[in-house]
Symmetry: C2
Subunit: 147 residues, 2 copies
DNA sequence: CAACTCCGTTGCGAATCGCAACGCACGAGG
DNA sequence: CCTCGTGCGTTGCGATTCGCAACGGAGTTG
């Protein structure tokens, strides 16, 4: 996997090379949800333990998660999001929004997230594309390649 | 692939079940970039032709791309983003931003996107998480599960 | 009629995944 | 001491998926 995607001179491809493997984004979803330990992830997802170990290792290798020892005898570690990992929040929320909008079952979106300081009934997180310069909301047609 | 991810009662998992396979987001990147034909995708990416055919088929099956005939004799088709597909823009830009920020090579980000109506030198698209109710910029700590 | 284009499909070896079992270090109970 | 339970992975093996290269077929051009 690593070789062919990473050297495509494309930031999207490089990102996917790190977080595009099966289960990886779901592990990160759990991490954003506060989980830190191997057994928590393993119970939350129907993922094989060897695959979970491999995913955690590549995320740690890439600096998305940090592996920190929280006890000796026996040594046990927890996995925490780094700044780099936390910066994937727009991607995660984007997937969340899209699934809610188009793939929800008959009984509506499975999970409800709320901005807890906001009074509005619509206080849900939403991933949107804006212009870093003027702040305007952007569609694909507002953007072009410039280099 | 389909079975285990789709029935996880999680919008993120359901989204990944549709667009989480290897190469899929890169095909969509090209589609956002204006490509529509099989041969264009095949030339743009180092993807095996059988895999490309399979990815296009699942994207069409899920309504992310629409397959439209653009000539008879021989029948030829083009693949266009639907509204559902276009709504993946925040995810794509999120991956793009993250790769630019953390995975760029020595010579900076490989590709530069610009909001062409904006005069600012910082007129680049950015995927951010905001509150649908109040519009405020949100971090993971501002959000909690409410259902 | 031979060459070329566009769009896939097929066959086969290689890589990856899923599942279940095992390993190991430690603490608790009997 | 012996066994059980927990936390955290690793190993083995069959099943799935992928990558590559070759083939096919329908039409167009020289």
């Amino acid at each position: 996997m690593a070789k062919s995607l990473a050297d495509l001179r494309c930031s999207v491809a490089r990102s996917l090379d790190v977080i595009g493997e099966r289960w990886t984004m779901l592990v990160l979803r759990d991490a954003f949800n506060g989980m830190t330990r191997f057994e928590e992830f393993a119970e939350s997802l129907p993922i094989a333990r060897n695959i979970l170990a491999a995913r955690l290792k590549t995320l740690v290798d890439h600096g998305v998660l940090a592996r920190e020892q929280y006890q000796d005898r026996p040594p046990r570690y927890e996995y925490r999001l780094t700044r780099k990992g936390a910066d994937l929040y727009p991607v995660l929320i984007g997937l969340f929004n899209w699934g809610d909008a188009y793939l929800a079952g008959d009984d509506g979106p499975p999970l409800d997230l709320t901005h807890h300081k906001c009074e509005s009934p619509e206080a849900h997180p939403e991933s949107v594309v804006v212009c870093r310069g003027c702040g305007e909301h952007l569609t694909p047609r507002d953007v072009r390649r410039s280099a």
